[in-house]
Subunit: 658 residues, 2 copies
Amino acid sequence: MTSTTNPDLQKERDTATFDPLLLTNRIDGGPEKTRRRQYIQNLAATDPNLVHKHISFMDRSEEYDTAVKNACYIVKRLKELNITDPTEEYWYRHIATPHEASAMALHTGMFMPTVRAQSTPEQYKHWIPDCESYKIIGTYAQTEMGHGTFLRGLETTATYSPMTEEFILNSPTVSSLKWWPGNLGKTTNHAVVMAHLTIAGKNYGMHGFVVQTRDMDDHTTMPGITLGDIGPKFGYGSNDNGFMKLDHVRVPRENMLAKFAEVKKDGTYIAKTKNTKLTYGTMVFIRAMIAGDAARGLAQCCTIAIRYSAVRRQSEIKPGDPEPQIMDFQTQQYKLFPLLATSYALLFAGSSIRDTYFRIEKDIQRGDTKELPELHCLSSGLKAFNSWAANSGMEVCRMSCGGHGYSQASGFPKIYTDVTPACTYEGENTVLMLQCARFLMKMAEAAVKGQPLAPTLSYLANTSSRTSLTPQFNLDSLVAAYQHRAARLIKAAASRFQGLMAKGMAREDAWNASSVDLVRASDAHCHQFVISTFVSVVNEKQNKDLQKVLKDLCQLYALYGISKNSGDFLEDGYMTGEQIRMVEDGVLVLLAVIRPNAVTLVDAFDFNDRILDSVLGRYDGQVYDNLLKFAQESPLNDTDVHPSYYKYLKPLAMSSKL
Amino acid sequence: MTSTTNPDLQKERDTATFDPLLLTNRIDGGPEKTRRRQYIQNLAATDPNLVHKHISFMDRSEEYDTAVKNACYIVKRLKELNITDPTEEYWYRHIATPHEASAMALHTGMFMPTVRAQSTPEQYKHWIPDCESYKIIGTYAQTEMGHGTFLRGLETTATYSPMTEEFILNSPTVSSLKWWPGNLGKTTNHAVVMAHLTIAGKNYGMHGFVVQTRDMDDHTTMPGITLGDIGPKFGYGSNDNGFMKLDHVRVPRENMLAKFAEVKKDGTYIAKTKNTKLTYGTMVFIRAMIAGDAARGLAQCCTIAIRYSAVRRQSEIKPGDPEPQIMDFQTQQYKLFPLLATSYALLFAGSSIRDTYFRIEKDIQRGDTKELPELHCLSSGLKAFNSWAANSGMEVCRMSCGGHGYSQASGFPKIYTDVTPACTYEGENTVLMLQCARFLMKMAEAAVKGQPLAPTLSYLANTSSRTSLTPQFNLDSLVAAYQHRAARLIKAAASRFQGLMAKGMAREDAWNASSVDLVRASDAHCHQFVISTFVSVVNEKQNKDLQKVLKDLCQLYALYGISKNSGDFLEDGYMTGEQIRMVEDGVLVLLAVIRPNAVTLVDAFDFNDRILDSVLGRYDGQVYDNLLKFAQESPLNDTDVHPSYYKYLKPLAMSSKL
């Protein structure tokens, strides 16, 4: 590899002060995990069956076709390779179809888990074998065109007909069309449809119904159903997010998922016990995963931007000197290194939530859910915190690469359009921040009353009114500063909320009128959690060289955050103006400290070139030859003269001659 | 129109406290200008020849083909309509091909102006008539794959051969390929190629050469030249941004643009006087235009998001109540109304710079350039300030519309990918902020020495160390606050820069090591300029109802900016923590004040539906029926069953059966 590596990039690797493999191991969770991940990812990366032309050269239909082809191939290939562990499957798929929505994503990710979790044993036996053999491919149809996360607002109805022992599913309006479900438009032949159950005029709330959407022999849309793709999006071109109109579609009584509620032949509704905390647990897990995905999206963009900044030479610092690597410009470092530190911070925070979930998963299954509200608060907040930070950061990375960042060859547009929906799906970020705030408000009240606090909020009881920050930027003093800020903002939000109620405002109106403060409080809570987690990673027993680099990153992340939110630390006199200037100087010092390790720090993320799919971010740094190669393969270059010349340009030139 | 308007949207219009037409007139520059603009835009909006399917339904080749077709049609149509004024042409094109790069953009925007400005009279006569009849269609080829704004770094050479009286143009390396010029790949048949002029081994620096790139009869690429499209980008799919390799291409001596320098037959180089300030003037103009375009991009996104927020009903504030318009959520107002205020602030600032340019244009032509450095500083900074603010704001607008914002039907993705390159082209934003800072540093030195200051920087002489801000948020006190902040940050940057030099650092290294502070100083200078301009617009003699609304917006823009940068105002004790809380409360109060006027304020931008190209942002608010229509027209719905079913899904289901 070394012999063909761009010398500017090689030089960066040669000057690193730590061994990147040690850091990769820490991210993976140990050397054995790194080896296994690399082994599995290499299987996908070297598989000729998964090679195809660049997605940005395809039209939508071709892109979709490729996604279906790959999804079907991967099903067979994983079986051949006997890879069944979900994490290992994830590793494989991630390389096999980087940045491409799987045509089976909703089937394996939502349809099957829902059917498994909400079926009676008879229903399970009826559907699951066909699901596992991919005869049935399903999706999960909840969201409607006019209705998102708010379940009560959904309009689709399932009316029970005791005469025929059927449910009649109906979308009465355009706004009630099922809209957005992944793989619904073209791929799937079944769906769990969420609808208001109505029996003899009475609404029993949301229930799930298994509906066959396409014919099992020829895949045509079933009678009474209208199906389609919702059209092109910002990204996700390979996914046929779909719409569905149900025009009095009848399904047998047995098709209502009946583990938690059943409708008898005569229309009697029988509710069974349901552990709603289990659903909570799933949400915690999904949001922790998204927090991690967002962090990886940012880390990928940092990898591209930092490698390119080592390869690209531009302008001059001193007249007559050779053009410097653009990473030597302080402004470039100031754009990228805080984002590099952020990537690590968000990755560690995401892993921490996920690990906590795994730790208490068994407790939850047993019904011990005392830690769940705290974890639900953190996972909701962190999903929003991470995805917002990644979202803005990815675009800074793209724009730090000048014009080439705007080319699809850079990889940035695909990563961005792939990750940015994380701000919206599985809970819109602002809504999640407000969910997080509900628990914070409870804890704020508990703190006032001297009641016990959840461990992650014990800082609400601290009372120091001055920072102990010194020019060494001791990590504990940084944690203390962020905790002080979070505590102050949580108390300020509680104070506004309670003050408005004290003035006679209804609780719900007071909540709405405090929501800007509440979001800010949640954001500060997440921020202190991310800092605290990073500090505990630095404090782990580990190789000293690695520890030094992690400490540099952790300090940069914390100091940069203080400088960007300095008002929060100044407003109540916790810090002085002089301390803020010390922090700002500290940021500049750390940029220079991190500079020699920057490339190695992105190498340690260990993203395969196939995931980055970026000419600018290639591991070997051979940017320019490959930019040309990318352009030459572009379909617009299939012919020298484009047909539009004969149709429009030539006639225009001729007409003016006359 | 009213009868078919969504009633939620109509209600918003009925509650406005001002006449939007008055505000539209203010933006346009008077009622007559509004009428004329609307007349011209209506010609384009109602022209059946310009109707085509949605761009997001096209593949790249079709998109390019449509752009060429439209560009050729518009040339003829504008001639028929006798529209020749550049502003009126701009209005027409903007509606005729919204968010589509013109196939003639570089020809009329760069090639012809360059040839006109740098030709001798003989050259002018030789080329311009064919340019005007579109026999010649040209572009401007400066940027190379490995080299951007830094001219000295370009590698392309033009070596004079006295034997044949020709220049030999050559791209010696891959990184020297001309890369990015608009319309170069497929459309144009000529280019001004910027290259290092070499005569008898001596480098005479950058000069422009007219090079024929394609055959005039059959449009094939000329010998010695390799041409192509650089491949798909984030957006701008209709533009064939191209690459060009020159392999010892010979052009006659007469093809060097010779107004400012000439090469005699024997190779003697003759420099002529060149008014470099004129080039400066053009840059000022272009950057002022980009500042305005960025503001309009943000205003378009606000229009879409705010109209949709009035139409969309979601969730509940009080249990059991009907779903509220999402614009009634405080968090939604907090996302959108500051951006609405920002749109107006940036629009007014952009217009102000443009008007100043027009005011002093004749002075510049006459050689009186004393105001130019100040204007160059402001226009460079404002191009960066506006495009950065628009860039992040547009994405907030998109994400404020939930899932539907991510659909191409929303219009957001197209507007974003169209406007975001403004952060990079015509001067990368950070580079421009540093250009702006050069003048600020001069003025900081002048202020210390008590020398006269440029009018826009006279605030450097002010000395108040405490704000006079009261809960009325008097506009002058807001201007004073922003000027105090800018002055402090300019002085802080100057102090670091000079301090480093005093410690013995070379000037250039000190500049680089101060560049984070310098960018921050420029940003603060631009911010105070935007505030000052907005305040003077509010203070104009005008209708009282309009004045009230503009004052609300101006205060919101200013207060929001203080709250988001509160550390800057607290750090030196200019404001107290209590005053910052007063500002934050003021923001919340203003959100409620602006709420009833929000839709009318975006109506006043007067964007034709064709420009927005957004189902969510339609003037009539008929969102849901049109979302369905968009989906149904999507090419993936041409057939019920996609071919990939037969190729992959069916075989997979069959294989598992066995």
